[in-house]
């Protein structure tokens, strides 16, 4: 792998950019790998990367039925934050956020991490109490957040209307080191680093079956033939239930569409991320100048990557009250991603009933921010065979044992 640097750009500029090589190799499957990871989204690639970097396991294949980063990694609103109420959540999301801080240097790939600050508006008295409590919890967890006044909100984000008729701004939970990153670059950067370590990234290769002997995983059947492995990890978000069925177990997951949309590009007007959980809307401005808006999830199962129109209507209607200046913006694109929702709205990083088979799923509406932390914890679990401290609380058995990590109450819906 050639190192990207200012010098490399200057060198290539002088010779007509003929010396750039492909960021990752197009690989065809070998007969057998130590570890196969199904799903080349952010979480799958990060898992492979930390398997190599932290544990020296590089005989790894990442197989993907579509193209690299073409699922929810390329469909989210790129928000990164770690202001969660529950301790296990704060631990893994803060680990993740801190890894984002140095990711561009670690991967030698510019992921454009922008710690511009995230504020979650409190628009009801209940939210004020809830976020004050979260700020106290974060102080104990070592996550830097504070509850700020409406005046401070207006200073940080002048385009906000504080005294809207239905949704007045009563304060906000402010995390100054939270922010955004370039979502595709995260997947591409990890893929390049994995490929450089000798791992195979195999695209357009759909898993059609999971093979096992005596309760132990031995490989997968794919559209490119049989591939053997010692350990298998499924990291396929919305399609986890489908894959788990092949491996012979069920999951506490339902898949629904979550929508986002972007406006036409406008001049810089907002340099923070604002989330308004009461109205299920959040907004930030991309580097291109588009206002990036995230909405609510559908209330019923579907795999359409489209979403219901009335959710967008509700989100935009409410955001216009909070940001009156966006009322005349034209919206350019709208899309949906299939999110995997668990009963307690917290993820699953777990061993499974099939020995040697691991699963990472259930990130629901909040997976992008968790990519590095999730990969770190999942790699540790695969390498050691049991979950480490970051992943321990996120086991599948918590649903049977009633040990929920209840972020559906703690974080509201926008997650």
């Amino acid at each position: 792998m050639k190192h990207y640097s200012a010098f490399a750009i200057a060198r290539e500029a002088l010779r007509g950019h003929t010396g750039w090589e492909r960021a990752w190799r197009a690989a065809s499957p070998k007969k057998h790998y130590d570890v196969i990871i199904v799903g080349a989204g952010g979480h799958g690639l990060a898992t492979a990367y930390y398997l190599g970097k932290n544990f020296g396991i590089t005989n790894v294949a990442v197989i993907e039925k579509g193209w690299l980063g073409g699922g929810n990694t390329g469909r989210n609103t790129t928000i990164i934050r770690s202001n969660y109420l529950q301790d296990p959540s704060a631990a893994i999301y803060e680990k993740s956020r801190s890894l984002y801080e140095t990711m561009s240097q670690d991967l030698n790939y510019n992921v454009m991490y922008s710690p511009r600050g995230v504020m979650m508006l409190a628009q009801t008295e209940h939210e004020v109490r809830g976020y004050r409590r979260t700020a106290h919890a974060n102080a104990l967890q070592g996550v830097e957040t504070q509850f700020i006044t409406p005046e401070r909100v207006k200073e940080l984000c002048p385009i906000i209307e504080l005294k809207g008729p239905r949704y007045p701004v009563l304060g906000a939970l402010w995390q100054p080191r939270a922010g955004t990153a370039r979502h595709d670059a995260v997947a591409w950067g990890y893929a390049r680093a994995c490929s450089a370590m000798g791992m195979d990234i195999i695209q357009k290769c759909e898993v059609t079956g999971v093979r096992s002997e005596n309760g132990r995983v031995t490989g997968v059947s794919t559209s490119k033939g049989e591939i053997g492995c010692d350990k298998l990890c499924m990291v396929v978000a919305g399609h986890s239930g489908h894959l788990a069925e092949m491996a012979g177990f069920r999951l506490p997951i339902e898949s629904v569409a979550l929508q986002a949309l972007v406006s036409e590009p406008i001049k810089p007007c907002m340099d923070v991320v604002v989330m308004a959980n009461t109205v299920h809307g959040y907004m930030s401005q991309s580097d291109k100048g588009e206002m990036v808006i995230g909405g609510g999830a559908d209330g019923y199962n579907n795999y359409t990557q489209r979403g219901s129109f009335h959710h967008i209507e509700e989100t935009v209607r409410a955001l216009i009250e909070t940001f009156p200046m966006i009322s005349r913006l034209k919206m350019l694109r709208q899309w949906g991603g299939i999110v995997d929702m668990t009963g307690d709205r917290s993820p699953i990083i777990s061993t499974t009933p099939l020995t040697g088979c691991f699963i990472n799923c259930g990130w629901g509406t909040g997976g992008f921010k968790a990519i590095p932390g999730s990969g770190w914890a999942t790699a540790e679990m695969i390498a050691k065979g049991t979950p480490g401290p970051l992943a321990a609380e996120f086991g599948l058995n918590r649903f049977r044992e009633g040990r929920f990590i209840d972020e559906s109450v703690a974080a509201g819906v926008a997650h």
Binding site: H239, G241, H242, R250, L251, P252, I253, E254, S255, G299, Y300, N301, N302, Y303, T304, S308, F309, H310, T342, G343, F399, R400, E401
Partner: protein
């Protein structure tokens, strides 16, 4: 927009008039049930890519709960049927045309 016909009042209602109620025909186990059975009732879901039986409430209409058979990939509605059954009627057990 998703449109379902309420089997009670006959109104063709779009989804803003309805409240989704999740997977249908999930077996509820009584007192003394095992942890596994109760986990299955509370959390484990079929989550199919394809035909899905689900509960809906005609919330802004007659207020009744009913069942619907719907394809989660095509969003095609196969049919709706009353709530007082423990399994879907035979004619709705497969998507139309397949």
């Amino acid at each position: 927009m998703l449109i379902l016909t309420c089997p009670y009042c006959g109104v063709r209602a779009d989804e803003t008039e309805l409240a989704p109620g999740g997977e249908a025909h999930v077996a509820r186990h009584g007192p003394g049930a095992s942890d596994e059975a109760f986990e299955a009732y509370l959390f484990l879901r079929a989550n199919p890519r394809g035909l899905h039986y689900e509960r809906w409430r005609h919330a802004h209409g007659c207020g009744k709960w009913f069942h619907a058979a719907r394809d989660t990939v095509t969003m095609g509605v196969v049919g709706t049927y009353p709530a007082q059954v423990t399994e879907p009627p035979a004619e709705l057990s497969r998507p139309r045309g397949s």
